[in-house]
Amino acid sequence: MKSARLPSVGAVLILAVVLAWTLFPILWQALTSVKPDTDLVQLPPLLPLHPTLDHYEALFQQHPFSRVLLNSFAVAVFTTLAALTLGMLAAFPLARLPIRGKTLVLGLVLGCSMFPAIVTVGPLFIIIRALGLRDTWWALLISHTTFALPLTIWVLTNFLRELPEDLYRAARVDGCSPWQAFVRILLPLCRPGLTAAGILAFLFSWTEFLYAFTFTATEASRTVPVAIALFPGLHEIRWGEIAAASIVVTLPVLALVLLFHRHIVSGLTAGAVKG
């Protein structure tokens, strides 16, 4: 790694292009969301000359958007908690205990994360319909947790493996059972790993479309991505409201990415670089 110094003019120009390419579509959506309808049916003006929050108001007053937002939030939070609990329980034996078939289990888990969602959506739909779970949070919670679980297990197993083995051994010598050693000694040290895995699980559920689109029918369980895809437009597409909804659903993502950027990166690379 070279020492820190100012990059050359050429590099700065390329960086500016990369930044513009990355941010322009999001910025344009933000500008669209605050333009009144009269400014959306023509171009120019490029910039909102009469900025307004009309589209945001319409979102919450003319559409059941607060309910949809609640659905998304509840499903994502419960998915995160469920995936972390199940993932943590499985990661401990996979990382520390002398059981057989670890490689097989990890391979199976990895395999589960690779097949396309479209492969299971049909059979799952039949099961969910038979159980009467259509259009409930349960349908989404179950499918999202299962899809978030493989990554959670991988991230947490990798994290536990990197903790010094002596910690666990010492607790055992001091008379802890394996379970006590796990809960009292290892678990409190796992916060960074849990944060990384938790954010990935949350983002996965928050942005998931295929299952949410298939298993929901009304605003009783519809999530934000589905609502945006199905935005009602009687005669024309309501671009202003779509843009406003896009910005609302993007804000939590923006906060997570800027605050927990390092956790996300460590989570994403856990499986790829070492495995």
Binding site: T120, T207, V224
Partner: protein, 298 residues
């Protein structure tokens, strides 16, 4: 030091996660294979075993071959562009300069936002009359007539690929940055002492050392691109004239629009095989590489 309590606790703790995966992932996959051998049309209560008839029908249907072609075209072109662009950006951001940490965070944004939002965003920019893209093209004198990006058969798939590249390049950048960080700086110092040009350093040092992680990135991206659904479904629903209809979209329409669960599942089986084939191929290449590496060192 190994005792029975550790082994018992170990298996007991694995049970919940494995049970969930078995019921909600593995059982539905077996269900898919089972359904693909049946004629099952939900609203009419039709449910009968028909052997391989669904697959026989599949290979005789031009629409299936079209969607297989679209899937491969989309996946190969997207992944090629993403990896090329991602590698360039990663090399740029691997250097240290003021604000690089901030830039590495910002670059993640397209990856993290919902794909549905990406689709709507680009759909809006691609609009023939009101879209910003055509505005720029007209303002700069490159076109006089508005281009119908998503409505023209030869353009729509490429417009979708651009949106996909925007969305998924950050993932490539992040993984390659992690790979670049693993290359020891001594190697670069030695190269610069030997008078290697930047291109020689990249070609003979960075690229070979990055190869294992590069293979993983290509595998992950390839699997993801082969199952692409959200972006295309929301942007074009497979149109115009089925030119953006991937296997995922074809399967989805057969399953949930015509409710032919048997035939739709047969398409699902083909997708499963395709992904499995790509994974096995990459695994094989990876193994061969590491064997060569071991031989070269001994």
């Amino acid at each position: 030091m190994r005792d029975r309590s550790e082994i018992h606790t170990g298996y007991a703790l694995l049970v919940p996660a494995l049970a969930v995966l078995a019921v909600v992932a593995i059982y539905p996959i077996l269900g898919l294979f089972w359904l693909s051998l049946r004629q099952r049309i939900l609203p009419f209560g039709i449910d009968a075993f028909i052997g391989l008839d669904n697959f026989r029908l599949l290979v005789q249907t031009p629409r299936f071959w079209n969607s297989l072609g679209v899937t491969c075209y989309f996946a190969v072109l997207s992944v090629t562009l993403e990896v090329t662009l991602g590698l360039s950006i990663a090399l740029l951001l691997a250097r240290r300069f003021p604000g690089v940490g901030w830039m590495r965070a910002v670059i993640l944004l397209p990856w993290a936002i919902p794909t549905v939002v990406t689709a709507k965003m680009w759909d809006w920019m691609y609009q023939p009359e009101l879209g910003i893209l055509n505005y720029f093209l007209r303002a700069s004198g490159l076109t006089t007539e508005p281009v119908n990006w998503l409505g023209t058969p030869s353009l729509a798939i490429h417009a979708a690929i651009v949106a996909d590249v925007w969305k998924t390049t950050p993932f490539v950048v992040i993984l390659l940055l992690a790979g670049l960080a693993l290359i020891p700086s001594d190697v670069y110092r030695a190269a610069s002492l030997d008078g290697a040009s930047p291109w020689q350093t990249f070609r003979h040092i960075t690229l070979p050392l990055l190869r294992p992680i590069l293979m993983v990135v290509v595998l992950f991206r390839m699997i993801d691109a082969l199952r692409a659904f959200d972006l295309l479904y929301v942007m074009t629903s497979g149109g115009p004239a089925d030119t953006t209809e991937t296997l995922s979209i074809y399967a989805y329409k057969m399953l949930f629009q015509t409710l032919q669960f048997g035939y739709g599942s047969a398409i699902g089986v083909v997708m499963f095989m395709l992904v499995a084939l790509v994974s096995l191929f990459q695994l094989w290449v990876g193994r061969r590489d590491s064997r060569r590496f071991v031989r070269a060192r001994s």
